[in-house]
Symmetry: C2
Subunit: 198 residues, 2 copies
Protein backbone atom coordinates (compact mmCIF):
# COMPACT_ATOMS: atom_id res chain seq x y z
CA UNK A 1 0.00 0.00 0.00
CA UNK A 2 1.51 3.41 -0.93
CA UNK A 3 2.03 5.87 1.96
CA UNK A 4 -0.66 8.50 2.52
CA UNK A 5 0.02 11.87 0.88
CA UNK A 6 0.84 13.63 4.18
CA UNK A 7 3.31 10.88 5.14
CA UNK A 8 4.89 11.06 1.73
CA UNK A 9 5.36 14.84 1.95
CA UNK A 10 6.85 14.60 5.45
CA UNK A 11 9.22 11.89 4.27
CA UNK A 12 10.18 14.03 1.27
CA UNK A 13 11.25 16.81 3.64
CA UNK A 14 13.39 14.35 5.59
CA UNK A 15 15.00 13.27 2.33
CA UNK A 16 15.67 16.89 1.34
CA UNK A 17 17.23 17.59 4.74
CA UNK A 18 19.49 14.55 4.31
CA UNK A 19 20.52 15.68 0.81
CA UNK A 20 21.47 19.07 2.26
CA UNK A 21 23.53 17.54 5.09
CA UNK A 22 25.51 15.39 2.63
CA UNK A 23 26.02 18.34 0.28
CA UNK A 24 27.17 20.72 3.02
CA UNK A 25 29.62 18.15 4.37
CA UNK A 26 31.01 16.54 1.21
CA UNK A 27 30.12 18.83 -1.70
CA UNK A 28 28.85 17.58 -5.04
CA UNK A 29 31.63 14.99 -5.49
CA UNK A 30 30.36 13.19 -2.36
CA UNK A 31 26.65 13.47 -3.16
CA UNK A 32 25.50 9.93 -3.94
CA UNK A 33 22.27 7.98 -3.42
CA UNK A 34 24.15 5.77 -0.99
CA UNK A 35 25.43 8.73 1.08
CA UNK A 36 21.92 10.22 1.27
CA UNK A 37 20.52 6.86 2.38
CA UNK A 38 23.19 6.65 5.10
CA UNK A 39 22.42 10.20 6.30
CA UNK A 40 18.76 9.23 6.43
CA UNK A 41 19.37 5.92 8.17
CA UNK A 42 17.41 4.27 5.35
CA UNK A 43 18.04 1.92 2.47
CA UNK A 44 19.30 3.08 -0.94
CA UNK A 45 16.06 1.59 -2.27
CA UNK A 46 13.99 4.14 -0.36
CA UNK A 47 16.09 6.99 -1.77
CA UNK A 48 15.65 5.71 -5.35
CA UNK A 49 11.91 6.08 -4.69
CA UNK A 50 12.57 9.85 -4.73
CA UNK A 51 15.44 10.11 -7.22
CA UNK A 52 15.77 7.89 -10.28
CA UNK A 53 19.53 8.45 -10.27
CA UNK A 54 22.49 10.68 -9.56
CA UNK A 55 21.34 13.31 -12.08
CA UNK A 56 17.94 13.81 -10.40
CA UNK A 57 19.66 13.90 -7.01
CA UNK A 58 22.06 16.64 -8.15
CA UNK A 59 19.21 18.65 -9.73
CA UNK A 60 17.28 18.46 -6.44
CA UNK A 61 20.40 19.49 -4.49
CA UNK A 62 20.78 22.59 -6.71
CA UNK A 63 17.12 23.48 -6.04
CA UNK A 64 17.63 23.12 -2.28
CA UNK A 65 20.81 25.21 -2.56
CA UNK A 66 18.88 28.01 -4.25
CA UNK A 67 16.07 27.87 -1.66
CA UNK A 68 18.52 27.82 1.29
CA UNK A 69 20.44 30.70 -0.27
CA UNK A 70 17.22 32.71 -0.60
CA UNK A 71 16.19 31.86 2.96
CA UNK A 72 19.45 32.57 4.74
CA UNK A 73 19.78 35.58 7.00
CA UNK A 74 20.44 38.57 4.84
CA UNK A 75 21.12 42.22 5.32
CA UNK A 76 18.08 44.35 4.57
CA UNK A 77 18.58 47.19 2.08
CA UNK A 78 18.42 50.54 3.96
CA UNK A 79 16.96 52.23 0.83
CA UNK A 80 16.23 51.41 -2.83
CA UNK A 81 18.70 52.34 -5.58
CA UNK A 82 22.46 52.37 -4.89
CA UNK A 83 22.15 51.25 -1.20
CA UNK A 84 20.06 48.26 -2.38
CA UNK A 85 22.71 47.39 -4.99
CA UNK A 86 25.37 47.53 -2.26
CA UNK A 87 23.27 45.27 0.00
CA UNK A 88 22.68 42.79 -2.83
CA UNK A 89 26.44 42.52 -3.47
CA UNK A 90 27.20 42.14 0.26
CA UNK A 91 24.54 39.42 0.55
CA UNK A 92 26.32 37.39 -2.15
CA UNK A 93 29.87 37.81 -0.75
CA UNK A 94 31.24 35.29 1.81
CA UNK A 95 31.29 37.78 4.71
CA UNK A 96 30.12 35.27 7.36
CA UNK A 97 30.91 31.58 8.06
CA UNK A 98 27.42 30.76 6.76
CA UNK A 99 28.01 32.77 3.58
CA UNK A 100 31.39 31.09 3.15
CA UNK A 101 29.88 27.59 3.40
CA UNK A 102 27.10 28.49 0.96
CA UNK A 103 29.53 29.98 -1.56
CA UNK A 104 31.79 26.93 -1.41
CA UNK A 105 28.84 24.82 -2.50
CA UNK A 106 27.86 27.29 -5.23
CA UNK A 107 31.36 27.37 -6.71
CA UNK A 108 31.47 23.57 -6.48
CA UNK A 109 28.15 23.46 -8.37
CA UNK A 110 29.64 25.21 -11.41
CA UNK A 111 31.61 22.05 -12.26
CA UNK A 112 28.47 19.91 -12.02
CA UNK A 113 26.39 22.37 -14.06
CA UNK A 114 29.00 22.70 -16.84
CA UNK A 115 28.82 18.94 -17.43
CA UNK A 116 25.03 18.59 -17.89
CA UNK A 117 22.81 20.38 -20.43
CA UNK A 118 19.72 20.76 -18.20
CA UNK A 119 21.67 21.86 -15.12
CA UNK A 120 23.64 24.22 -17.35
CA UNK A 121 20.39 25.79 -18.62
CA UNK A 122 19.08 26.12 -15.04
CA UNK A 123 22.30 27.89 -14.00
CA UNK A 124 22.04 30.23 -17.02
CA UNK A 125 18.52 31.19 -15.88
CA UNK A 126 19.71 31.68 -12.26
CA UNK A 127 22.36 34.22 -13.29
CA UNK A 128 19.90 36.00 -15.56
CA UNK A 129 17.55 36.28 -12.55
CA UNK A 130 20.34 37.75 -10.38
CA UNK A 131 21.26 40.26 -13.10
CA UNK A 132 17.58 41.24 -13.39
CA UNK A 133 17.42 41.89 -9.64
CA UNK A 134 20.62 43.97 -9.74
CA UNK A 135 19.26 45.83 -12.79
CA UNK A 136 16.18 46.95 -10.85
CA UNK A 137 18.35 48.63 -8.21
CA UNK A 138 20.52 50.17 -10.94
CA UNK A 139 17.54 51.65 -12.79
CA UNK A 140 16.25 53.04 -9.49
CA UNK A 141 19.72 54.50 -8.81
CA UNK A 142 19.57 56.24 -12.22
CA UNK A 143 16.15 57.64 -11.31
CA UNK A 144 17.55 58.99 -8.04
CA UNK A 145 20.65 60.43 -9.69
CA UNK A 146 22.93 58.09 -7.66
CA UNK A 147 24.56 56.62 -10.77
CA UNK A 148 25.50 58.46 -13.98
CA UNK A 149 23.35 57.56 -17.03
CA UNK A 150 24.35 54.27 -18.62
CA UNK A 151 23.17 50.88 -19.84
CA UNK A 152 21.68 49.03 -16.83
CA UNK A 153 22.30 45.61 -18.44
CA UNK A 154 26.00 46.35 -18.79
CA UNK A 155 26.29 47.71 -15.25
CA UNK A 156 24.40 44.69 -13.84
CA UNK A 157 26.71 42.28 -15.71
CA UNK A 158 29.78 44.19 -14.46
CA UNK A 159 28.52 44.21 -10.85
CA UNK A 160 27.78 40.46 -10.90
CA UNK A 161 31.16 39.76 -12.54
CA UNK A 162 32.99 41.71 -9.84
CA UNK A 163 30.98 40.01 -7.08
CA UNK A 164 31.36 36.40 -8.28
CA UNK A 165 35.07 36.90 -9.00
CA UNK A 166 35.60 38.32 -5.50
CA UNK A 167 33.79 35.26 -4.11
CA UNK A 168 36.34 33.01 -5.85
CA UNK A 169 39.35 34.98 -4.57
CA UNK A 170 37.94 35.08 -1.03
CA UNK A 171 37.24 31.32 -1.05
CA UNK A 172 40.78 30.47 -2.12
CA UNK A 173 42.49 33.07 0.06
CA UNK A 174 40.39 33.78 3.16
CA UNK A 175 43.42 35.19 5.01
CA UNK A 176 44.07 37.85 2.34
CA UNK A 177 40.34 38.53 1.85
CA UNK A 178 38.69 38.91 5.28
CA UNK A 179 35.18 40.36 5.44
CA UNK A 180 36.32 43.96 6.01
CA UNK A 181 38.57 43.92 2.92
CA UNK A 182 35.79 42.42 0.76
CA UNK A 183 33.42 45.13 1.99
CA UNK A 184 35.99 47.86 1.26
CA UNK A 185 36.64 46.49 -2.23
CA UNK A 186 32.89 46.41 -2.92
CA UNK A 187 32.49 49.99 -1.66
CA UNK A 188 35.37 51.20 -3.86
CA UNK A 189 33.87 49.34 -6.82
CA UNK A 190 30.51 51.08 -6.24
CA UNK A 191 32.20 54.47 -5.79
CA UNK A 192 33.77 54.00 -9.26
CA UNK A 193 30.38 53.06 -10.74
CA UNK A 194 28.97 56.28 -9.31
CA UNK A 195 31.58 58.41 -11.13
CA UNK A 196 30.72 59.54 -14.66
CA UNK A 197 33.02 58.01 -17.32
CA UNK A 198 35.19 60.78 -18.79
CA UNK B 1 65.05 -3.81 -16.16
CA UNK B 2 63.85 -0.19 -15.75
CA UNK B 3 63.51 1.81 -18.98
CA UNK B 4 66.42 4.10 -19.94
CA UNK B 5 66.03 7.71 -18.78
CA UNK B 6 65.32 9.04 -22.33
CA UNK B 7 62.62 6.39 -22.89
CA UNK B 8 61.08 7.17 -19.54
CA UNK B 9 60.94 10.91 -20.29
CA UNK B 10 59.40 10.33 -23.74
CA UNK B 11 56.81 8.01 -22.18
CA UNK B 12 56.07 10.61 -19.51
CA UNK B 13 55.23 13.12 -22.26
CA UNK B 14 52.87 10.59 -23.85
CA UNK B 15 51.19 10.12 -20.48
CA UNK B 16 50.85 13.90 -20.01
CA UNK B 17 49.34 14.25 -23.48
CA UNK B 18 46.82 11.50 -22.65
CA UNK B 19 45.92 13.20 -19.33
CA UNK B 20 45.28 16.41 -21.24
CA UNK B 21 43.06 14.69 -23.85
CA UNK B 22 40.92 13.08 -21.14
CA UNK B 23 40.68 16.36 -19.21
CA UNK B 24 39.74 18.42 -22.28
CA UNK B 25 37.04 15.93 -23.25
CA UNK B 26 35.54 14.89 -19.91
CA UNK B 27 36.66 17.49 -17.35
CA UNK B 28 37.84 16.58 -13.85
CA UNK B 29 34.84 14.32 -13.08
CA UNK B 30 35.94 12.01 -15.94
CA UNK B 31 39.65 12.08 -15.14
CA UNK B 32 40.48 8.58 -13.88
CA UNK B 33 43.55 6.31 -14.11
CA UNK B 34 41.47 3.95 -16.25
CA UNK B 35 40.43 6.72 -18.70
CA UNK B 36 44.06 7.87 -19.06
CA UNK B 37 45.15 4.27 -19.70
CA UNK B 38 42.46 3.93 -22.39
CA UNK B 39 43.52 7.19 -24.06
CA UNK B 40 47.09 5.91 -24.02
CA UNK B 41 46.16 2.44 -25.30
CA UNK B 42 47.98 1.04 -22.27
CA UNK B 43 47.18 -0.85 -19.09
CA UNK B 44 46.04 0.86 -15.90
CA UNK B 45 49.17 -0.71 -14.37
CA UNK B 46 51.42 1.38 -16.59
CA UNK B 47 49.59 4.56 -15.56
CA UNK B 48 49.95 3.75 -11.86
CA UNK B 49 53.70 3.70 -12.53
CA UNK B 50 53.37 7.50 -13.01
CA UNK B 51 50.55 8.33 -10.57
CA UNK B 52 50.04 6.59 -7.26
CA UNK B 53 46.34 7.47 -7.36
CA UNK B 54 43.59 9.84 -8.41
CA UNK B 55 44.99 12.67 -6.27
CA UNK B 56 48.41 12.65 -7.97
CA UNK B 57 46.68 12.42 -11.34
CA UNK B 58 44.54 15.49 -10.60
CA UNK B 59 47.57 17.45 -9.29
CA UNK B 60 49.45 16.63 -12.51
CA UNK B 61 46.42 17.67 -14.61
CA UNK B 62 46.34 21.05 -12.83
CA UNK B 63 50.06 21.52 -13.59
CA UNK B 64 49.48 20.70 -17.28
CA UNK B 65 46.52 23.08 -17.31
CA UNK B 66 48.69 25.91 -15.99
CA UNK B 67 51.46 25.17 -18.53
CA UNK B 68 49.01 24.94 -21.46
CA UNK B 69 47.36 28.15 -20.32
CA UNK B 70 50.75 29.89 -20.24
CA UNK B 71 51.70 28.48 -23.66
CA UNK B 72 48.49 29.21 -25.54
CA UNK B 73 48.43 31.90 -28.20
CA UNK B 74 48.01 35.21 -26.48
CA UNK B 75 47.65 38.80 -27.46
CA UNK B 76 50.88 40.75 -26.99
CA UNK B 77 50.62 43.94 -24.92
CA UNK B 78 51.06 46.97 -27.22
CA UNK B 79 52.68 48.92 -24.35
CA UNK B 80 53.37 48.58 -20.60
CA UNK B 81 51.00 50.08 -18.03
CA UNK B 82 47.26 50.33 -18.74
CA UNK B 83 47.45 48.71 -22.24
CA UNK B 84 49.28 45.74 -20.65
CA UNK B 85 46.57 45.46 -17.96
CA UNK B 86 43.92 45.45 -20.71
CA UNK B 87 45.80 42.74 -22.62
CA UNK B 88 46.18 40.63 -19.47
CA UNK B 89 42.43 40.77 -18.84
CA UNK B 90 41.61 39.94 -22.47
CA UNK B 91 44.02 37.00 -22.37
CA UNK B 92 42.10 35.51 -19.43
CA UNK B 93 38.59 36.03 -20.90
CA UNK B 94 36.98 33.32 -23.09
CA UNK B 95 37.15 35.38 -26.30
CA UNK B 96 38.06 32.43 -28.57
CA UNK B 97 36.95 28.76 -28.76
CA UNK B 98 40.38 27.83 -27.34
CA UNK B 99 39.97 30.32 -24.49
CA UNK B 100 36.47 28.99 -23.84
CA UNK B 101 37.67 25.37 -23.60
CA UNK B 102 40.53 26.37 -21.29
CA UNK B 103 38.26 28.39 -19.02
CA UNK B 104 35.73 25.55 -18.75
CA UNK B 105 38.50 23.37 -17.36
CA UNK B 106 39.70 26.10 -14.98
CA UNK B 107 36.22 26.69 -13.55
CA UNK B 108 35.78 22.92 -13.26
CA UNK B 109 39.09 22.77 -11.35
CA UNK B 110 37.77 25.05 -8.59
CA UNK B 111 35.55 22.22 -7.31
CA UNK B 112 38.49 19.80 -7.25
CA UNK B 113 40.79 22.34 -5.56
CA UNK B 114 38.25 23.27 -2.88
CA UNK B 115 38.09 19.62 -1.77
CA UNK B 116 41.84 19.03 -1.24
CA UNK B 117 44.22 20.94 1.03
CA UNK B 118 47.32 20.73 -1.21
CA UNK B 119 45.46 21.57 -4.41
CA UNK B 120 43.72 24.38 -2.55
CA UNK B 121 47.10 25.83 -1.50
CA UNK B 122 48.41 25.55 -5.07
CA UNK B 123 45.34 27.42 -6.36
CA UNK B 124 45.83 30.13 -3.69
CA UNK B 125 49.40 30.61 -4.94
CA UNK B 126 48.25 30.72 -8.60
CA UNK B 127 45.83 33.58 -7.93
CA UNK B 128 48.45 35.44 -5.91
CA UNK B 129 50.80 35.11 -8.91
CA UNK B 130 48.14 36.49 -11.28
CA UNK B 131 47.45 39.42 -8.94
CA UNK B 132 51.20 40.11 -8.75
CA UNK B 133 51.40 40.23 -12.57
CA UNK B 134 48.39 42.58 -12.76
CA UNK B 135 49.92 44.70 -10.01
CA UNK B 136 53.09 45.29 -12.06
CA UNK B 137 51.05 46.76 -14.92
CA UNK B 138 49.04 48.83 -12.45
CA UNK B 139 52.15 50.30 -10.80
CA UNK B 140 53.54 51.10 -14.26
CA UNK B 141 50.19 52.74 -15.14
CA UNK B 142 50.52 54.92 -12.00
CA UNK B 143 54.05 55.89 -13.09
CA UNK B 144 52.74 56.89 -16.52
CA UNK B 145 49.78 58.79 -15.10
CA UNK B 146 47.31 56.40 -16.79
CA UNK B 147 45.57 55.52 -13.51
CA UNK B 148 44.81 57.86 -10.60
CA UNK B 149 46.88 57.23 -7.45
CA UNK B 150 45.59 54.26 -5.45
CA UNK B 151 46.50 51.00 -3.74
CA UNK B 152 47.82 48.65 -6.45
CA UNK B 153 46.92 45.54 -4.41
CA UNK B 154 43.28 46.63 -4.19
CA UNK B 155 43.08 47.50 -7.88
CA UNK B 156 44.72 44.17 -8.84
CA UNK B 157 42.22 42.25 -6.68
CA UNK B 158 39.31 44.22 -8.20
CA UNK B 159 40.55 43.63 -11.76
CA UNK B 160 40.97 39.88 -11.19
CA UNK B 161 37.54 39.70 -9.49
CA UNK B 162 35.86 41.41 -12.45
CA UNK B 163 37.71 39.17 -14.93
CA UNK B 164 37.02 35.82 -13.24
CA UNK B 165 33.37 36.73 -12.65
CA UNK B 166 32.95 37.69 -16.29
CA UNK B 167 34.49 34.32 -17.24
CA UNK B 168 31.77 32.55 -15.22
CA UNK B 169 28.93 34.58 -16.77
CA UNK B 170 30.32 34.08 -20.30
CA UNK B 171 30.70 30.31 -19.75
CA UNK B 172 27.10 29.93 -18.59
CA UNK B 173 25.61 32.33 -21.13
CA UNK B 174 27.73 32.41 -24.29
CA UNK B 175 24.83 33.83 -26.33
CA UNK B 176 24.43 36.86 -24.07
CA UNK B 177 28.20 37.28 -23.63
CA UNK B 178 29.85 37.05 -27.07
CA UNK B 179 33.49 38.16 -27.41
CA UNK B 180 32.67 41.73 -28.47
CA UNK B 181 30.43 42.29 -25.43
CA UNK B 182 33.09 40.87 -23.07
CA UNK B 183 35.66 43.19 -24.65
CA UNK B 184 33.35 46.20 -24.33
CA UNK B 185 32.59 45.39 -20.66
CA UNK B 186 36.34 45.09 -19.96
CA UNK B 187 37.04 48.41 -21.70
CA UNK B 188 34.29 50.15 -19.70
CA UNK B 189 35.63 48.60 -16.51
CA UNK B 190 39.14 49.94 -17.30
CA UNK B 191 37.73 53.36 -18.20
CA UNK B 192 36.16 53.52 -14.73
CA UNK B 193 39.45 52.50 -13.09
CA UNK B 194 41.14 55.36 -14.95
CA UNK B 195 38.73 57.94 -13.45
CA UNK B 196 39.70 59.48 -10.12
CA UNK B 197 37.30 58.55 -7.29
CA UNK B 198 35.53 61.76 -6.24
Amino acid sequence: MPPARADHDARREDVSAAVWRVLAEHGFPGLTLRAVAAALGASTGLVTHYFAGKRELVAHALDILEIRTAQRTRLAAPAPGLPALRTHIRNILPLTPDGLAMNRIWVSSWDVALADLDLFAAQTRRYERIRTALRESIVEAYRRGELPPGDPDEVAATALAFTHGLVVQALFDPDRFPADRQTRLADDFLARLAQPIG
